[in-house]
Every structure is written in C-alpha cells, then in structure tokens.
Symmetry: C2
Subunit: 327 residues, 2 copies
C-alpha cells in the first residue's frame, strides 16, 4: 500500500482547498471565507485525517472533501473566536472583523459552518455517512462548549487544573481526535481502532496545548513565532498560572496575585517577575512532566491500533515533528 | 389515512420541542438556546413540514426531530440576525445579546446551528439522509445569502424590485419551501411532487413577506402586532418604498427622498406624509396585486401535486388562515 508523508498530504490538501469553488454571489459573504481559507497554516487537522485514512487505504484524494470540511470548520471557529476575543491579527494578517466588520464576521462565519457540513457530506459513502456526521456534530458541539468554558474561566477567580484540562480537551483536543476518527472510519477501520486513534488524538492535543502554554514563557523567541510572555501580560489562566497559584506558598501567591492585579506596569518587568515566580515554584518541570506523560500515553494508544507498526511511522513522525519543531 | 389539522400539528411539535433534552453543561451556552426555543411563535416551518409529510404518511411523530431541526435553524437565524440588526426585543422579550451579551449570542447561535444539523439527522431514514441534508444545507446557505443582500441593500442608494424579490426569496421563502420539500421527501413523495411543493412554498413565502410589508403601512393596529409605520420610520427598503421611488413622478420622488433624509421629524408626521405619497402613487394596489398573484401561483403549484385533492385541504386551510389572520 502506498504511504504518504505528512508533507505530501499537506501539499495535496492545500492545493485542493485552494481549488474549491464555493465562491458565488454575494461576494460580500464569500470573499471573507476565501480570505480565511487562503491564509494557510499547517493544515494540521486535515493532515491527521489523511494520515489516519492512509493506515487503511491509499486513495487519499477520495476524502479530500472531508479533510477540507474539517479545515473549514476549524477556520470557522478561529473566525468567530477572534471576534469574541477581539483579536485583531491572525497569522500576521488582519482578522475578518477588522478587515471587514463585525456583522460580516458573524454571517460569513455562519456560512463557513454550513459549508463545512456540505463538504463533510460531499462524496461521503452512504453507509458511513451517519457515523461520520455523528462524530462531526458531537465534536463541533464540544468545541463550542470548550470556548464557552474558556470565556467563563476568564471571568472566574479560581479554576482548577482539572477544569483547565477539560476545557482544552474540548476546545483543542477533540477536533484533532475527531479528525483522526473520521479518517479511520472512512478508511474502513474497526470501531476499536477508531476509538484508539481518537484517544491518541485527545492525548496529543493536550500535549500540544500544554506545550503552547509552556513555550509562551520558556520558548525560543527566534522560533516560537509569537512574542514571549503574551499569556502572562493578559493574565491568561494557562496551565502554568493555575499550577503556580495552586503550588505557591502564601507569600509567593500573594506576590503573584499582586502582579495579576497590577496596572500601569512595564511589560518586561511583569514578564520577568512572573517568570521568576514560576521558576521558584517549579511549574516548568510540572508542565514538562505532564506534556511528556500525555505524549507517552498518546503513543501507547497508537500502539493499540491493529495495523502493522511500519504503517504507523508517518503518523508518529508527524506528531514527533510537531512537538519538536516548537521546542 | 389519518389527517391532522395545522392546529393539532402545532401543538404536537410545540410539546416535542419543549421536551428536547439538549441542555447540558455549560449552562452559559445552553440556557440562551432554551430561552430562544421556549419563546414560542407559530412554529410555521415545522407545521408546513408536517403538513407536507401528512400528504403521504400519517405517522407524523416520526419526523418530529426534522421538524424541530427546522425550527431550531430558524431560531438560530433570528438570534444572529437580531444581533446584526441590533434589535433589542423579539416577541416582547429581550433578545439574547441584550439579556446576556454579544459573545453569548454569537456562540449560542453557533451551537444552535450545530444542534439543528444533529436534529435533522436524528432518526432520518438512511436512504433519504443524503437528499434531506442536501436540501437543508442548500437552504441554510441561501438564507445567509439573503441576509447578506438585505444588509447590503441597507447601504445602497438604489435597489430594484427584482433584486428585492430575490432577496426575500432567499431570506424568507426558501426556508418555507425547504420545510415542505423535506416533509415531502420524508413522506416518500416523488421528486416531481417535492418540487411542486417547494415552488408552492416559494410563492407563498413571497406573498407572506409582501403582505408583511403592506401591513406595516396599511394594517389594522389592533391585529397587526407591531406598531404601524415602523418600516417607514427606519427607511426600510420594502416593496412599497422601492415601488414608490420607481413609479413616482419627479416631484413626488423628490418629496419622498426629502422625507427619507429628513432628521429631527415627528414620527407620526413622517408616517402620514410617506403614506400619503404611497397612496398618491398607487403602491398599495401594486402590492395587493402582487400578493394575490403570488398566492394564486402558489395554489397552482399545489394543484400539480399528485395526491387526492381532499388531502391537500389542511395545507390550503393553513396558508389561507395565515394570509387572512393578518389582514
């Protein structure tokens, strides 16, 4: 069976998404959709779907519509999340509500969500359609729940580590996991295999998100892509902050809380002080350990998938590369 | 075959929607959805779907999930449209973005759209699923297009009658038509019957919307439900205004345009003056004629549906009642 590298699959799905002819009148509705889908990005979720499919079948082009669906859905969530978070820039370009306006962001986002359902159904084998749509619908709803928790946590005094992990599972992990499950189902995997691939995706998603939290503080500015300390400046309740507040002694906790409520401070000063507190309390090690644990647990799930080990190599290489690239 | 009246169907679907157990954590996401779906309303679209189904089959409860789906979808559009239009009240109660906030309106709306897809697939016979979902997806996208045109028309100097009719076809008619088509398909109708019912729905939707435009000016304040002249006060480009601008002589057009750009006028004065101009130019008759024409064309489409004439009576009674009730 022909096996594809993640690089090949990325190029293939990227070209397919670029060729989609969804655009029609009114342009005011469809131009922003094209703008968002053309921004690029790693196409992580479609690539995972295609890699999962390629464990069982080689005609990966057959599920390009479903891979495009998951990418369209993902970009819909970015569009509406950026509006809700009032984020003005995404991948170095103005977000839709800045380039156009808020109403355009709402309505074009709605149309993208509808388009993602249409792509998901496009050429989907009839016997698999109910199962595929069930996974997609459940995943889509969970992502809304994750975003809701995320917004509520911003307003809350206290968030536990468990609550935070559940939030990022919903907001980030289930879409990676759902992509893998849909790819597997379309490839003809057994329900057991599809379930192990789903769990693999959940664990890897948690590892990715915690690594993102970690790199915001401890990343190499040259390769991280964003400015170091952004989460600290906006008091984002990341794994690091939640753990620090939980582990710190009374004095350190009070100092941390003073920085959280401080106004009119120099950014570099706040980043340095909070990082120093993180170091003192030892949250970096906590975070690394948890990342490694999720990563290992993920690989153990992949071990349970009943296909030849050599076939799993591209998927292993891909997640390994994703984790290393950012470190 | 047992035949149901629209009244019976309305009660049935209303109770079913009230019993839906979609609500779960986080409450901040699902409470607004429950709030919107509990507001009630005529349940027009589900009733049309059930009436179409009942032309062919009698176990109407079988398609309650699909009927609930179309109502959920409709209420999703109201939720997001009210946010985009900055409308603060709907059916006498504060809209979601007023009672909660804008982000809640965005995210709960997204979740409603996803839920509507889940309901549409729920217990849908596998052999009909692709067709039903195709109609639903196409309809959903067209409604977004209609809303986009509507917002663009607000910013435009000139809108033709044809453009206006196409906008209300997309924004209003296709959902009534799609409800009828899905009901027919689920009932096992031929493609021809489903198409004639769809066309019937399009024409009736146009008649309803033009009647709404008409009643805003010429309705009986006691039964219309809204304040007379609301469209005139906000310069809404209705069929009446567009036709008046098109038919008026130079002098009358200039006077009409003066009222449109006038600021700081007494509401009653503006309503009286614009209504007088409408009367002078004869737009009321134009509008009535067009309503009657769409209504008649709709009934002719219904005539082409190949079921016994007596079976069509509840559907005829229903649209007749909808048109009369408001006059």
């Amino acid at each position: 069976m022909k096996q594809y590298s993640s690089e090949q699959l990325m190029k293939g799905i990227h070209a397919y998404i670029g060729s989609l002819a969804y655009a029609r009148d009114p342009q005011g509705l469809y131009d922003p959709i094209e703008y968002v889908l053309d921004m690029g990005g790693k196409r992580l979720r479609p690539v995972l779907m295609l890699l999962a499919y390629n464990l069982y079948k080689e005609e990966v082009e057959r599920i390009y519509p479903q891979a495009a669906a998951i990418e369209t859905y993902h970009n819909f969530t970015l569009l509406h999340d950026d509006l809700m978070d009032k984020a003005d820039v995404r991948r170095g370009r103005p977000t839709v509500h800045k380039k156009w306006n808020e109403n355009t962001a709402i309505l074009s986002g709605d149309a993208m969500l509808i388009l993602s359902y249409r792509f998901m159904m496009d050429h989907c084998p009839a016997e698999l359609l109910p199962q595929v749509m069930e996974v997609f619908g459940q995943t889509a709803l969970e992502i809304c729940e994750g975003q809701q928790w995320d917004m509520e946590f911003e307003q809350r005094e206290e968030v536990t580590v468990d609550e935070y992990i559940e939030m990022i599972r919903l907001k980030t992990s289930v879409l990676l996991a759902g992509s893998l499950r849909i790819g597997a189902l379309l490839g003809g995997a057994s329900d057991e295999d599809a379930e192990w691939l789903y769990r693999f995706g959940v664990k890897m998603g948690l590892a990715f998100q915690l690594q993102d939290d970690y790199l915001d503080v401890y990343g190499d500015p040259a390769t991280f892509g964003k400015k170091i300390g952004g989460d600290i400046l906006c008091n984002k309740k990341t794994y690091l902050l939640i753990t620090a507040l939980q582990r710190a002694g009374q004095e350190d906790r009070h100092e941390l809380q003073r920085w959280l409520s401080a106004t009119d401070v120099r950014p570099e000063e706040k980043i340095a002080a909070v990082t120093a507190l993180y170091n003192k309390v030892g949250v970096a090690d906590c975070c690394r350990e948890r990342i490694d644990a999720y990563y290992e647990e993920g690989l153990q799930c992949l071990d349970r998938v009943s296909v030849e080990e050599t076939l799993k190599q591209p998927l292993k290489d891909y997640v390994c590369q994703l984790m290393d690239r950012q470190l």
